[in-house]
Amino acid sequence: MKKLQLLIVGNGMVGQRLLEDLSRMPHVYNITVFCEESRAAYDRVHLSSYFSGASADELSLVAPEFFEQNDIRFLREEAVQSIDCLRKTAFGTRGTIIKYDTLVLATGSYPYVPPIPGHDRVGCHVYRTLDDLDAIRRDAANCRTGVVIGGGLLGLEAAKALSDLGLQTHVVEFAPQLMAVQLDQQGGAILRNKITALGVQVHNGKSTQKIIDGDQSRHKLVFADGELEADLILFSAGIRPRDALARDAGLAVGERGGVIVNDYFQTSDPDIYAIGEVALWQNKIFGLVAPGYDMARKLAAHLCQQSGEAFTGADMSTKLKLMGVEVGSIGDAQARSPGARTCVYEDGVKGVYKKLIVSDDCKTLLGAVLVGDTSDYDSLLQYMLNALPLPESPSSLILPSLEGKPMLGVDALPGTAQICSCNNVSKAGLCQAITSGCTTIGALKKETRAASTCGGCASLVKQVLESELKRQGIAVNDHICEHFACTRQGLYHLVRINKIRTFDELLQQHGKGHGCEICKPAAASIFASCWNDFVLDPKLVGLQDTNDNFLANLQKDGSYSVVPRIPGGEITPQKLEVLAKVAQQYDLYTKITGGQRIDLFGARVDQLPMIWRDLVDAGFESGHAYGKALRTVKSCVGSSWCRYGVQDSVGMAIYVEERYRGLRSPHKLKMAVSGCTRECAEAQSKDVGIIATEKGWNLYVCGNGGMRPRHAELFASDLDDATLIRYIDRFLMFYIATADRLQRTSVWRDNMVGGLSYLQDVVINDSLGLASELEAQMQSLVDTYVCEWKRTIEDPEALKRFRPFVNDDLPDEQIVYVRERGQKRPPRAEEKALASIEHEELV
């Protein structure tokens, strides 16, 4: 079949989603994309995170090779200048000319800058693209004060960005309240109080008449009543659809802008479509990404002549966090519906305001406003979207109650209920994916995209998963094994709360049978995390996993490897000499590990104590290479030698390694410290990564190398030493308390409802009130640390277990080696066979 030419103008969030949706279906198009920006589509919704550490790459929405793999012609940094609808031809700003059969406008919108005199002075900015942010960052470096003109949703977000950049920040709003579109007056007032308390000054009811030179600062804003000085100005006075192209081409546009489309996104020219923020449907522009994604999905189906679902509008409810203040707006927040009644809850002390807007018969929810606490958002949204019958007294939905609210079980939701609005995933869609095998949050996210955009629906998605698994009878048996009817987390709490110190007690009180190789090591690890008793104590030794059992790593031939700790990878020549001597004396295969230390292989169990006696004498300690415990803290050379280093990364690595050495956890833990942003220690692939900045340290968490690499996420910036350690203490103890057995921090994080911001809340803002307890728990582990090997070689009882045979001191003669490149190694199977033949011949 002859291919049709499909031309897409704009590679923003919605344009890119259209490409992805098309690439998932069979279609008949040759696709060309004009991308005006210097970067392919990126996540505009999380634009502000660019200022808090996310890189442009991390914000990218385009998988590497996406365009190549899907045979899409991608014209970077070229805009469409004009369209000739008659000849069906588009002209690019760099001279590209394309004849199309079908054209899609996905040109989004631009920030509106009111034409006040002085609006175009140097130092006036807008907030829409990565380039805008680069410009703001550059400029802000030389500024002390900033003002955002516009106190809507985006304006407040921009204000947060400015204050994060260290500017004394003001917000100027024409309306008498903040966020006039989403909130009512009272909600706006509470938000204002909270934001002022955070150090941002809010000026309501001010209209800027002109901007002139300031006396102390670069600019002065002149209002009808008064004036305000600032070095940097940021306009956020609303957005306007980028419809100029369409206008020039003669397409119908709305009175106040926007390309007019029908239910199938066709413009007045049936071969030209428009989606996203540029499209005007039933006189409405949708300035959120979720409706745009819905348009993309439906247009893709329409272009492929599948079903061709009509667009039916979108819900504009929003939930967000502005400068740490939770704000939610659902449906008819201003109570404009005829007969609407309201009920309000307000706690002036905590700064919580909640309002419900219900129908005059009090049966259905029409809207809601939430400020300061949005925990009810998800369930309220479902009440509104699905017109679920309200409880007898609707106020019970927002009143804080000790017994808990009438829970809106996800079971009550119809299959059509939309759970994830960003990606239009219904409850039925989730259930289907669960049935087809997505039985973890991670898998479900990947398959359906639910919870992968704003993350607001994550807790609902999890509830659906749990209830559906239960309903389908898919064994959500999360019991650790047949001996204990609970999870590892459950065991941890039992042990900690009931102060249980032995497996016998644990089994008697909470388990059955004799235990096994799953629950025993888990219990041993929990005991160690809680009480730090000697792991080879006769009461505990039988629980230890193979390697912990002999404090070394078992190799395939039954011999062991020895990995002494080399904190931060720093080692003196004298100590190197000791390692060399020991390796020579016992003929151990010697290798530098991937973790900046030295591994000595091929020690028989009976040799371990002798080897360790020599090592301990020379000042070495156990490296816990055998334990689900802290492994290494990798470091780069840092400021002591490196010409770029800004902090002493080796010193910090050693400090951290010595603090957390011996810490038993659900799985192994790795850390690294880099001396500057060049990141030679690869800290962003570790469970805990520390990267030096001019002002202190950036902390990254939950990275992983290994089988499923995961980049660590920026957790907090510019920390001083003490805060850094405090956060790590809390982070690690929280992980130890709540992770599953053998769950690395990366997987733990991927399954965490509420994601990174929840974790930040717990660790940084102490939202669970646990911080001091977690710190105390860690401190007690730090204080009770002893090197297991030092203790073992001093304990004749513990040493008995290292005898080769209980009734004979001759070593296992079946451990034999061949030599290669000057060192020994275990023989391969064929070499072994050969050896035994030779042996027989000899006899």
């Binding site: 078992l554 209980v806 199977a829």
Partner: protein
Amino acid sequence: MLILERSTNTTWHDVCAMDDIIVGTGVAARLNGEQLAVFNTGSGVFAIGNFDPFSGANVLARGLLGDIAGVLVVASPVYKQHFCLKTGQCLEDPEISVPAYETRICDQSKRIQIRVDSV
């Protein structure tokens, strides 16, 4: 149970003292040139071959003890297959088993003896 057998059956060998095995663990022992793994589970003493057929190493004495649906087992420390302490049968693979030996406790519960068929 305490059986002090004074018969002439020479196939019982004294291996070690009860105290030599920490409850819940095992030790390796050598008898007639064979390597054995001897365990004290707390509810009994058991002996099987020390050779792990899956890894080809003499390591079963260093495995973790437990039960799977009531069958007392040791898990190989290398690749974690389970072997029945009473019969030596591998639970994962019916074709594979290791030798199992009779044990008894003598001398007022102090010594462990194992019966090995003479070679």
